[in-house]
């Protein structure tokens, strides 16, 4: 396209710079200017001496953008999560966003013995939203291991986190129990404005942002009665292709849904459906009720896959009595 030498291109640029004010393109940045950006400014003066017009440029002053360390952490459930007493591994969802201007990783911690609530949930684990569907999926969403799989977020990126608690059996209906998730920048925390020399991305200086580099967020549970309800306890067992239990591609997850009624009375015409998690595929022919196979088609038997509820298994259990036997649904999926 262009045959001129580099010198000619450079000369043309100099001419343009000298003859006109520098043209200016606004960069469509969504959020903060990225760490490491150089901000330059240069003034131009025009003047006349004895009829001759002169144009001069000032020096160029350069200011570099340091990495600001900042985050937001927000509880996602719209209201206290309703749980019966004695149930295990109940998830509160939180959204962690890197609102700094460079990549950062964050360490997480949970705390459930808080003041101001009616009962203390029992802290179990923190899980990452491994399949990115904003919902806790047992067996798929990886267990958080401090220092092992700290979430790494690019500037403006976010992730969901699940704080799991067991609900004590002696909690009573209507009681509230709070649990808190904390997230802290691994690059540094401290008073806002603290400079951490060389600690940022690519050795840039890092500056602690307005939140001090760490934040807490609280969520809560509300105890509801089991009497007029059935409880579904869902568990998952992972078997990977290499003889282990890692949730890797190709691993099989066996889900078991135990349907029980507690309290008093019988719940009639119970229908259970369960969505096949994102990034997994249902293994045809694996749906069973109380260890008896149920065909995948919509037919005379008690359940189907995808027919009654798209993308979900659906099983009609009928009546579930408090003093009757529990009902167990199993099926398997393979991680894509």
């Amino acid at each position: 396209m262009e045959e001129g030498s580099d010198f000619v291109r450079l000369a043309s640029r100099l001419l343009l710079a000298a003859a006109f004010s520098l043209s200016f393109v606004t960069c469509a940045m969504a959020d903060g200017t990225p760490a490491g950006t150089d901000i330059t400014s240069q003034a131009t003066i025009n003047y006349t001496i004895t009829g001759t017009v002169y144009t001069e440029l000032s020096n160029t002053v350069t200011t570099s953008v340091a990495e600001v360390l900042d985050l937001s952490l927000v509880w996602q459930d719209a209201a206290p999560v309703e749980v019966p007493p004695g149930i295990l591994d109940q998830a509160l969802a939180f959204r962690l966003t890197n609102i700094g201007n460079g990549s950062d990783s964050f360490s997480l911690a949970g705390q459930s013995t808080l003041a101001g609530d009616d009962f203390d949930p029992v802290l179990a684990n923190i899980h990452l939203d491994t399949n990115g569907n904003s919902r806790f999926d047992p067996g798929i969403d990886e267990l958080y291991i401090p220092g092992g799989n700290d979430p790494v977020l690019a500037a403006d990126a976010f992730t969901l986190l699940f704080l799991l608690n067991d609900i004590p059996p002696n909690a009573t209906v209507g009681q509230l129990g709070a649990s808190m998730l904390s997230a802290a920048s691994n690059t540094g925390i401290g008073a806002p404005g603290t400079v951490i020399v060389g600690a940022g991305e690519n050795g840039l200086d890092a500056v602690v942002g307005a939140n001090g580099g760490n934040l807490d967020s609280q969520g809560s549970y509300r105890i509801v009665a089991l009497s007029a309800q059935v409880a579904i306890l869902k568990s998952a067992v992972v078997a990977d292709p290499y003889g282990g239990s890692q949730p890797v591609a190709g691993a099989t997850i066996t889900y078991e849904l135990s349907v029980i009624a507690t309290g008093t009375g019988t719940t009639n015409d119970v229908v259970v459906s369960d969505v096949i998690p994102l990034n997994t595929t249902y293994n045809p022919g694996t749906l069973m009720l109380n260890s008896t196979p149920v065909t995948d088609a919509v037919d005379g038997d008690s359940g189907d896959m995808g027919g009654t509820t798209p993308g979900a298994i659906t099983v009609s259990i009928g009546d579930v009595a408090v003093d009757g036997p529990g009902q167990t649904i199993t099926f398997t999926v393979t991680i894509d």
């Binding site: 001129g4 010198f7 000619v8 000369a11 043309s12 100099l14 001419l15 000298a18 006109f20 004010s21 520098l22 043209s23 200016f24 393109v25 606004t26 960069c27 940045m29 959020d31 903060g32 200017t33 950006t37 901000i39 330059t40 400014s41 240069q42 003034a43 131009t44 003066i45 025009n46 003047y47 006349t48 001496i49 004895t50 001759t52 017009v53 002169y54 144009t55 001069e56 440029l57 000032s58 020096n59 160029t60 002053v61 200011t63 570099s64 953008v65 340091a66 990495e67 600001v68 201007n101 400079v195 200086d205 500056v207 942002g209």
Partner: protein
């Protein structure tokens, strides 16, 4: 054609250097606030070596006529730096009028007269965040030895 451009540039640069009567020097400063022993807040200006989003930078352009002849029709122009939004003019010499551009420096006017085109191509008043240049037009000649500063503030996005 290309050779002609090179020669023109070289001549321009040589002439410019030989007759650099009015010189400019730009510095970038930020304000830091500290609390004195008596508990009063003291704001000082320091060179803006490092900034983070939200910081305000004060660009100060010092001018001096180091020649022997007065300079007339003096105009100082500064593009608003990339990633920054103009916030205010800090300092203007007596008798200098300030105008802005919102179209990359083609047209300058008082801020209230500047427009940009909306999504339908209709003109609407320009916002401060859309200003691309700030300009000072001096009414008076700059006598030999005269000096001063113009400055403006901009905030890092």
């Amino acid at each position: 054609m290309n050779r002609a451009i090179i020669v023109t540039v070289l001549v321009l640069l040589l002439v410019g250097v030989a007759n650099a009567s009015v010189e400019l020097n730009t510095v970038a400063l930020t304000e830091i606030t500290t609390t004195s022993e008596t508990g009063q807040e003291v704001t000082t200006l320091v060179p803006a070596g490092k900034v983070v989003p939200g910081d305000e930078v004060i660009y100060t352009i010092h001018f001096v006529n180091s020649g022997t002849e007065p300079a007339s029709d003096v105009v100082i122009t500064n593009p608003i730096p990339d990633h920054m939004v103009f916030t205010k003019v800090e300092e203007s010499p007596d008798g200098a009028s300030v105008s802005m551009s919102a179209d990359g420096g083609s047209r300058y006017d008082s801020p209230r007269n500047l427009t940009v085109k909306d999504a339908k191509g209709q003109p609407r008043p320009a916002k401060a965040s859309e200003f691309t240049h700030v300009r000072w037009v001096f009414q008076d000649s700059l006598e030999p030895g005269a000096e001063g500063s113009v400055s403006f503030r901009a905030q890092l996005q």
